[in-house]
Amino acid sequence: MEDMLFYDRMQFAFTITFHYLFPQLTMGLSLMIVYFKWKFLRSKIEKYNDAAKFWMKIFALNFAMGVVTGIPMEFQFGTNWAKFSELTGGIIGQTLAMEGMFSFFLESSFLGLFLFGEKLLGHKLHFITGFLVFLGSWASGYLIIATHSWMQYPVGYEILENGKFVLTNFGALFSNPWLLPSYLHNQAASLVTSSFVVAAIGAFYLLNNKHHDFGKLFVKTGVVFGLISSLLVAFPTGDLAAKNVVKYQPVTFAAMEGIFETEEGGSEIVLIGQPNVLEKKLDNKIAVPNILSFLTYQKWDAQIKGLNEFDEKDYPTNIPGLYYAYHIMVGLGTIFIGLMLLASIQLFRKKLYKTKWILWSLMFMLPFPYIANTTGWYTAELGRQPWLVYNLLHTAKGASPTVSSGNTLFTLLGFIGLYLLLGLLFLMLAGKIINKGPQLNQH
């Protein structure tokens, strides 16, 4: 029984982690492509249209990967989490079905037009199809996070005698206080990924002395979008999302921050230290006093509950995992802001394209927004464990009752093999597109 749950969780975790590598880029990138296309329409400078075309190739490849790895996500609610689906389908089914009806149809219908229709449509209509693809992908994110928010903070429901969750207020799903901060935080983070990718490819061209004009354009656009989005991720969206955790899941907040004991005079912020759950302390800790209280309540001496104030049975399942996920996310987020600030200053002083060490840093920074996004999601998901629906439905009670661990392991191995192949193909083809670079005056 324990094995079964373990493989079910591993399969979901593995497939969703892999899947989300692609949408996090496409959501942000769609906005940036629309921006390039818009610049072209306003200025009629071909460079912008060629830039849009280049990024559309990367977008198309990522989008295809996102679609093929996305279908297994919807299936797995039923295949591996049948009990959860049966009990809560009347509620989370609403938002998931809406995602299919409102965003997938929009995205997929106009993606074909966007990718193949430039000649047929003309530039203005082509811009509109791009905008609609962007709209569809952001609507998809919204409905997924509405579903996620209900699991974190259930609203508008009633539980029947047979254990089924019944929807009683449709509007509540969308006025859920968890929803808006999480959504904006996630979308800003998606823009961080796309900005860093655009900047990294631009830096790669500049350092390589190839495609010089595009290199400059990509670095500049990436840095401007990157600075704005990195700041937005932290404030106000990250701040608001964290305040929701303090308010609705205080024990999760304590574990995330690594606060084992309540501090009367205000809580310190932990920068470094490994949680030792048995001895309830952090090893070789480096912390700054009172900062956490200030960040959370804007009062230096505000009290934040430590893990000691909660019953152990209410602890998140994996405290060290949660703590690391959160600290990696926050640490990287801070580095992103720092790097983009420096790059922006150099850009303003018109020295960025010659400041080699910043270009090298931008190029090497490419994988890190992916890590930050992934660990951010791990923070949210590990923070909710051991619950599927916070405080109401235990994860162990949500798995499919008839699917044996042997069958789940079989399909998990299948997914690992298949996704390794997909990952290799993706890297090879993305590398090919990037190496070839943008093409001038393709008409």
């Binding site: 490849l61 039923g78 295949t79 049948a82 049966e86």
Partner: protein
């Protein structure tokens, strides 16, 4: 309200089968009949801009199933775990075959992805037919062994096959000779359907040959349909009782046979879209007749201990179903608009779309 959502779901599934059906069929034609590079191009051009949107009908149908009939979604998706996972893998292979083939110009690369696309299309057509066979045949709900349920009454699990391959065994498998028969019908019907789409949307040199293929396969299809009707009583002792009780339901078999017999005229059609219309009628009629024959059951029980799943005992609560009508009405109008735009832009022959060229 349950009935409304049932009709919505079945309609969406029928639309899915008609739309993605031509994609699968085109893949099968690609596998067996497209030898020249030019013919392959014609085929991928004819489905390239559409396949992704077509597949959304599957995802959207899954979403509607999830929200309107959560118990059926939970029971069938966990019970049919293995074939569903394989369908997922095949869908992935098929999609990357289509999307990646044109990215590298190399003979080996191209032939690998041609085969991936063709073979997974073929297997998907087979699996979807087998899936329909499983639904009408029913499953051992509650996992009854020697008269005792081993699971909750509405859960089950099926291995891929049992050694006897019999649809009447106590412990059933996904593949038995009856579900396989429906799988083969699926392959033949979708091959015809795909060929009709290619005739409709391209000026390929293949088209004349494909008309003969459609005609010949249609004879095979007619024979297979007759065989299936003759053996249907094995899985359902009174296979036509719904049609005898409710004469209005005859509309569905009439549509099926209109499509089937209409296709024999394929070589005389002046309008290239007519063949596609008739094979769509056959698919729509075949699917609806099959589900109408077991109505209101949605997943029959093969044992006498646990009751059948019907659309009434698997549905979500009333309020959720009612509120869903509002957003669904808006969404379906939008979907209609998108489809009109999409098919208007890519109207007529599509030989020069340039799909997959980089």
């Amino acid at each position: 309200m349950e009935l409304f959502w049932y009709i919505v779901l079945m309609t969406m599934l029928a639309v899915y089968v008609i739309l993605d059906g031509y994609d699968f069929g085109a893949g099968i034609i690609h596998l067996f009949f497209a030898k020249k590079e030019k013919d392959k191009k014609a085929i991928t051009n004819a489905i390239g801009p559409f396949w992704d949107a077509n597949e959304v009908w599957l995802i959207a149908s899954g979403g509607v199933l999830f929200f309107a009939f959560p118990t059926l979604y939970a029971s069938s998706f966990s019970g049919f775990y293995l074939p569903l996972m394989m369908i997922l893998w095949l869908l992935i292979f098929r999609a990357i075959g289509l999307e990646l083939r044109g990215q590298v110009h190399n003979k080996i690369w191209e032939s690998i992805w041609d085969k991936a696309f063709g073979i997974s299309s073929l297997l998907l057509a087979l699996f979807f037919g087998v899936a329909l066979g499983n639904v009408v045949r029913g499953v051992n709900l509650g996992g009854v062994v020697n008269g005792v349920s081993t699971h909750e009454a509405h859960y089950f699990f099926l291995p891929l096959w049992n050694p006897t391959f019999s649809p009447q065994a106590e412990q059933l498998g996904i593949i038995d000779w009856f579900t396989l028969l429906l799988g083969i019908i699926g392959v033949v019907a979708l091959t015809i359907h795909g060929a009709n789409w290619i005739i409709f949307k391209t000026n390929s040199d293949l088209n004349e040959k494909l008309k003969k293929v459609v005609f010949n396969l249609n004879i095979v299809l007619l024979l297979l349909v007759i065989v299936s009707l003759l053996v249907w009583h094995i899985i359902e002792p009174k296979p036509f009782h719904n049609f005898l009780d409710k004469p209005l339901l005859w509309i569905f078999p009439i549509i099926t046979f209109t499509g089937l017999f209409g296709l024999f005229k394929v070589r005389a059609f002046k309008k290239h879209g007519l063949g596609f219309l008739f094979s769509s009628l056959f698919l729509f009629g075949g699917l609806t007749s099959t589900v109408a024959s077991i109505f209101p059951k949605v997943l029959p029980s093969t044992n006498s201990i646990n009751p059948d799943l019907t659309l009434y005992n698997v549905a979500a609560h009333e309020y959720g179903l009612s509120v869903g009508v509002y957003w669904f009405a808006i969404a379906i109008v939008l979907v209609g608009i998108y489809m009109v735009i999409q098919y208007k832009v890519f109207k007529g022959k599509m030989d020069n779309v340039g799909y997959g060229e980089h």
